[in-house]
Symmetry: C2
Subunit: 338 residues, 2 copies
Amino acid sequence: MAAPANTGILVSSESIARPFREEIIEALKSSSKKPRLVGILSTSAAPSRFYAEFTKKTCDDLQIDFVLKTVGAASPEGGQEGEGVEEAIIECNEDNNVDGIMVYYPIFGGTQDQYLQQVVSPYKDVEGLHFKFHYNLYHNIRFVDPKTLSNPTIASSSNTAAAVTEASEGTVKSILPCTPLAIVKCLEHMGVYNKILPYGNRAYGKTVTVINRSEVVGRPLAALLSNDGSRVFSADIDSIQEYNKRSSSTTGNSRGFHPHHVVHPCSLSLQECLAISDVVVSAVPSQNYKVKTEWLKDGCICINVSSDKNFEKDVREKASIYLPTIGKVTILMLLRNL
Amino acid sequence: MAAPANTGILVSSESIARPFREEIIEALKSSSKKPRLVGILSTSAAPSRFYAEFTKKTCDDLQIDFVLKTVGAASPEGGQEGEGVEEAIIECNEDNNVDGIMVYYPIFGGTQDQYLQQVVSPYKDVEGLHFKFHYNLYHNIRFVDPKTLSNPTIASSSNTAAAVTEASEGTVKSILPCTPLAIVKCLEHMGVYNKILPYGNRAYGKTVTVINRSEVVGRPLAALLSNDGSRVFSADIDSIQEYNKRSSSTTGNSRGFHPHHVVHPCSLSLQECLAISDVVVSAVPSQNYKVKTEWLKDGCICINVSSDKNFEKDVREKASIYLPTIGKVTILMLLRNL
């Protein structure tokens, strides 16, 4: 009596990454100078080293000048985990030959890593992790005046001058945090964003569960998706919240400073959220965490963002589309920012 | 045969707070305008409401204009925990009648609270929680040019103008995070800082254990104390680190950007650290956490910074001086910043 098991499509991040790669190659052709990206590796963690090698390979393919700077536990001389990372960032901030900086996290974890993310000059923050970019995202501020992006250093010495003159004139698009942006690009590719709907509302009608609420992935992603019209359940260990787009009658006060979305606590369980979710994005940094396939809505779209596998092996028996990794897309978003 | 039990001195934070209170009263006498401090309370947490009432009382005594703004779960209409807190901060940032902003944490906890701390304009951040102040502390940058303190908003609109012209000309002392600064003031009062030693090195020769390594209390405190010459053990749940002042031969690179202290992992246990510590500062937000009296070095100085009691009842049998709370000193540091 049971219907034969379906098998959802397995999407590779390469297929999503390709058009962006071509776009970057085109842009570089018309550029006079080869941009330089510096990666700062300060820990002995295998995934970080892996990711650094992957950045190098991607940059080589694209003819981008990638320099890996190893300090602390990652340096040939050895050292402690994270030793010298702050000094390395500051040197890159001040070096006019460096166009972009990428730091391999986690280093110390939590709020101390968030501190380091503020040390990276916003002019060189290709990952979009600086507070100012998150602030703009939460407030749906899509364009910035580069002159107002100040250097994080506020010593009486004025090291800011060089950085400021480097920035181009006029208003530019605010950088979005890399990983959430890559996920949105994946969702566009997989048809979740409906191009018939007006720009800024193309995820309208979709229900999405995002498992993880970090400041790096989960919370900005929930904000982005709800800004674009979808209903988002944001789940972490302790609680579930619901993000919705603010209705037009309440969108923005006179200064346009309201967040574009509203957040409510949600009384649904994760199982109940998954049962009604068209899309499930999981980014839990744990080998033991698995989203139960039996809880998924039939035909949903699943994206694994973690370096661990957050979905069970049989996920495609329920999911219509499964994307097991977004790494290649993330790195291209980063190079695009560069 | 046992020596009679000693009883250490119990110090009240009031005795430490008094000279600062008098200093503030004097300063206000020569000021033409009554400064306005706005407290933003957004949760139903009893300690936060308590602290807000205490701020109000202290401000009333000092003739400072304190306005309590309640939003979300703290407002009379009710609401969710933390609802509207970001909007409330932004309104205060923009209101020229507001001189200082104080937000009652924890709200969402962790990195999301750290995000909110960046939303508060550094010009009005009386608590000294903005990234830039932490950056200056870690780099021992003691003076800032107020013109380089930019508004956190980087929209194309230029809301920064008002804030910038408010700041006075020339170089001013960088604000230090309130709680760590209050602890240093307590240590000065209790004779840990030796006035005979040169300024900037007055804690030289002292060994201090700091239990907690948050970005708000433990890490900046460890940095401050080691910048001032002491050997600091910084303990959290996972690990112990040792902070030491950088030796003069390595202090600062050509740009003066090295942190003033060096941090090493430490192979001592907490018990071993306590056995050699002249000062023990504990700031663990838990009712269950207790520093074992039997582990303390005889005659040490103990300071409890947590709203819970982190020391055992018999702490004064080992400690020569015990300071059970620093609340009154913290709030005066904050009003001094105002």
